[in-house]
């Protein structure tokens, strides 16, 4: 029974879609966002549940600067980073002196405030409400050495623009990972880790824990903002409803899957996460299309929803059975709220 089904699956297509997804725009954006979150949670122990807010700030920074303010696209990137840094300052001032749960609640609330504000008619002059800002990335793509046609390698294909942004993005991701690796070996990084392990001890040694945590929040937030910028440039559109809270928890799943507090875990975690999601989704889609799963049980709409169910299950299973993820060590994940 199972063998004919296995034989009938279009494995070439499944592999192609899985690999494309594992190296595609989403995997790249989430790897970068997870690098930022790793600085927050993995190295400093900050419970940031609103990382998507930083992405939104970065994305809207670029969009608003180019479309609304008609600024130079390179200045726009700077503005995106500044937006994310400002958010980090605003979040950090009231909460970094308090326990971790408060930062968690305030960050998730802040990310929703940003989304609601961005889609409101009140700020429509700035953000164009629910429609968002569109068609602003042309200037960046004029740098692309690739032409508009499709590039194919065997079963894999990218459009020229897509190939350009994916290559630039992954190079940036690797540079950022190397930067984090070096930073965390430095005295500055050791202070962050000391704060994660025992904030009082770090303070007793004369370190200004509050200021170090603020620096960590700003650095990780700026990287999250860059991830948001890459996402909106890749799609050439920035819309409020792409920045919903569940995205934050996708990033968390990516990070925990790879292993919290490890340099390469965001990258590997993101590739595995998106690869697995694409694999499951496309297998299910084929099953549904071939009628192996009765339509009463699952239709093509529900396949998309099923991905989210898998993420929820995955988070629970990871935290219960392997909280250290692929690379992490169990001792380091034995963090407690502070």
């Amino acid at each position: 029974m199972t063998v004919p089904i296995l034989a009938a699956i279009d494995w070439a297509q499944i592999v192609q879609l899985t690999v494309s997804s594992a190296i595609g725009v989403e995997a790249m954006v989430f790897a970068m966002a997870a690098i930022g979150l790793n600085i927050h949670f993995g190295y400093t122990g900050l419970l940031n549940f609103g990382h998507v807010g930083f992405m939104a700030m970065g994305g809207y920074g670029v969009g608003i600067a180019i479309v609304t303010w008609q600024l130079n696209p390179y200045l726009a990137i700077l503005i995106g980073v500044v937006f994310a840094l400002v958010l980090a300052l605003i979040l950090g001032v009231p909460t970094l002196r308090l326990r971790a749960d408060y930062l968690a609640i305030v960050t998730i609330a802040a990310s929703e405030v940003i989304r609601i504000m961005a889609r409101s008619t009140t700020l429509r002059g700035l953000t164009r409400g629910a429609e968002g800002l569109n068609e602003f990335a042309g200037e960046y793509y004029s740098l692309s050495p690739f032409k508009q046609n499709l590039y194919e390698w065997g079963p894999f294909f990218f459009t020229g623009n897509n190939l350009f942004i994916v290559i630039i993005g992954w190079i940036l991701v690797i540079l950022l990972a190397v930067m984090v690796w070096q930073l965390m070996r430095s005295p500055w990084g050791r202070v962050l880790k000391a704060i994660r392990e025992d904030e009082d001890a770090a303070r007793a040694l004369g370190k200004n824990a509050y200021w170090y945590k603020m620096q960590s929040l700003m650095l990780g937030g700026a990287i999250g903002g860059m991830a948001g910028m890459l996402q909106v440039i890749a799609k050439s559109t920035v819309q409020p409803d792409t920045f919903v809270p569940v995205i934050t928890f996708f990033i968390w799943t990516v990070l925990i899957l790879g292993g919290v507090g490890r340099v390469w875990s965001p990258i590997v975690g993101s590739m595995i996460f998106w690869g697995l999601l694409a694999l499951m989704e496309n297998l299910l889609r084929q099953f549904v299309a071939e009628g192996w799963i009765p339509p009463s049980l699952m239709d093509s709409n529900q396949v998309g929803i099923f991905r989210f169910i898998l993420v929820g299950l995955g988070l629970i299973a990871l935290m219960t059975f392997r909280p250290q993820g692929i690379f992490g060590s169990r001792e380091e994940m034995a963090l407690d709220a502070r």
Binding site: P94, L98, I116, V246, I309
Partner: protein, 455 residues
């Protein structure tokens, strides 16, 4: 170790609990056996509009019925047209994905209602394959407050105060459980939102069942009462089960609180999307209470079902207060919240108290879900939409205190509704969340909290 064996003894040797499990299974079997109308969804690739406006007098959200829309492709080729139904919803299926222009006919709007921005009578939406694309038309009713005289303003303030108290009470139903779970275990339960949503859908399922056995069109009161009972029982059982099979084992393993918190998030996502999977993304309304017209009490308008829900929530909250204040169980809950080690060393069975707190929290959240949904809608993310307001209320009142949760939620409810006097309605929740940030800045322990908690 002693605690563990005591736990096992209690679980194996307690008839009461065995009966409870039997009851849960009975309820589950009862619920499963019902044929539900409209479970699952047909493919809904198309353009969707849900049109409603806030009535200038009552402040209620009212669906705009019979408003005509026309849909064209981006190049102007007509696709079709139609009008909104009794829920203010308009849906037009389209053959292929792409971009469409959606035009509203402002002359068909209800009397006194206008487009907030007359230039936005045509919106462009992008329909993805297999998905419905929504468009948002902002409506306003009345003169927009410009010509309102003083007595109108007073009336509006009173009406909004009523709305605020109503919202605050409903939020408090969820917040007390959240706060008690935090107080007794230190865990912020992000899945509490889904316990609220679950309450909404329990009642929805009961209504489907009532319809199936011919109870519904006539016995509305009985149906909704059964629904409330089911929400209490099933919600409480859900809370108990979550603690028994997920969080009690995690605590026993010594899983850190942050990891437990991530597990609650996983649970929240899982439950939210399981509900979306089975019930679809459209909003639904309780058949037993929909279509009621508001009655006037003094100068304030309120629908009968809202009024009953407000009274019931006050009764329930008073009962909860009395239980916490007067009974052994309640005193034990407060003792564990105050100081867990001291409570344990004075002979209180902490694990048992935590289990009771989870059950009570689940029951209250589910009932809160019913109250919220009868005033608004049944939606797969209905609980998640109010979760942040509940967090704001709990933070404002002081994390971990039951009374603080009530006070905080009332203030948040009032703040949300009254802020619409000054800021656009679409931003009303933002105000509440900003209040929370300000509170953390100047009094992080909240109104009724104590300083040592914030550590």
């Amino acid at each position: 170790m002693g605690q563990l064996s005591a736990l096992q003894r209690r679980f194996e040797g307690n008839d009461g609990q065995r009966r409870l499990i039997g009851l849960i299974m009975l309820v589950a079997a009862f619920v499963m056996s019902v044929p539900f109308p409209a479970l699952g969804q047909e493919s809904d690739q198309g353009v969707r509009v849900r049109l409603q406006y806030q009535d200038a007098e009552s402040g209620e959200n009212v669906p705009a019925v019979g408003v005509v829309f026309s849909v064209t492709q981006e190049d102007g080729t007509p696709v079709g047209d139609g009008a909104t139904d009794d829920n203010g919803e308009f849906f037009l299926a389209v053959e292929s994905a792409g971009r469409f222009n959606l035009t509203i006919d402002p002359t068909t709007l209800p009397a006194g209602v206008t487009l907030r921005d007359p230039e936005r009578a045509t919106l462009t939406v992008t329909v993805d394959a297999g998905r419905a694309a929504s468009a948002l038309f902002g409506l306003q009713s009345g003169e927009g407050g410009a010509g309102a005289d003083e007595s109108d303003t007073l009336r509006r303030v009173l009406q909004l105060t009523t709305e605020g108290i109503k919202l605050g009470l409903f939020l408090a139903m969820g917040a007390i459980g959240l706060s008690l779970i935090f107080g007794t275990t230190g865990l912020v339960n992000f899945a509490h939102a889904e316990m609220i949503t679950w309450g909404m859908f329990i009642v929805f399922l009961v209504e489907g069942f009532a319809e199936g056995i011919g109870l519904l069109p006539d016995q509305k009161l009985l149906t909704i009462a059964l629904g409330a009972l089911a929400a209490l029982v099933v919600g409480g059982a859900t809370g108990w089960l979550m603690n028994r099979f997920v969080f009690a084992p995690l605590r026993r393993k010594g899983t850190p609180l942050i990891s437990q918190m991530v597990v609650t998030i996983g649970f929240g996502i899982l439950a939210r999307y399981v509900i979306l999977y089975f019930f679809g993304g459209s909003s639904r309304f309780f058949k037993s209470v929909s279509g009621q017209s508001a009655i006037s009490i003094g100068v304030v308008d309120i629908t009968p079902s809202d009024l009953i829900a407000v009274i019931l929530s006050i009764v329930v909250l008073v009962i909860v207060g009395l239980l916490l204040q007067r009974t052994r169980i309640g005193r034990a809950m407060r003792a564990v919240s105050d100081n867990r080690d001291l409570a344990e060393s004075s002979g209180i069975d902490v694990q048992r108290v935590i289990s009771q707190v989870w059950s009570a929290g689940g029951a209250l959240a589910a009932l809160g879900g019913l109250f919220l949904a009868q005033a608004d809608q049944v939606l797969w993310e209905g609980g998640f939409r109010v979760l942040l307001l509940i967090f704001a209320g709990v933070t404002l009142g002081g994390l971990g205190t039951a009374y603080g949760a009530l006070v905080g939620c009332l203030l948040i409810g009032l703040g949300v509704q009254l802020s619409t006097l000054f800021i656009p309605i679409e931003l009303k929740n933002v105000g509440a969340l900003l209040v929370m940030a300000v509170v953390l800045l100047i009094r992080p322990q909240g109104i009724l909290g104590r300083k040592e908690r914030i550590g």
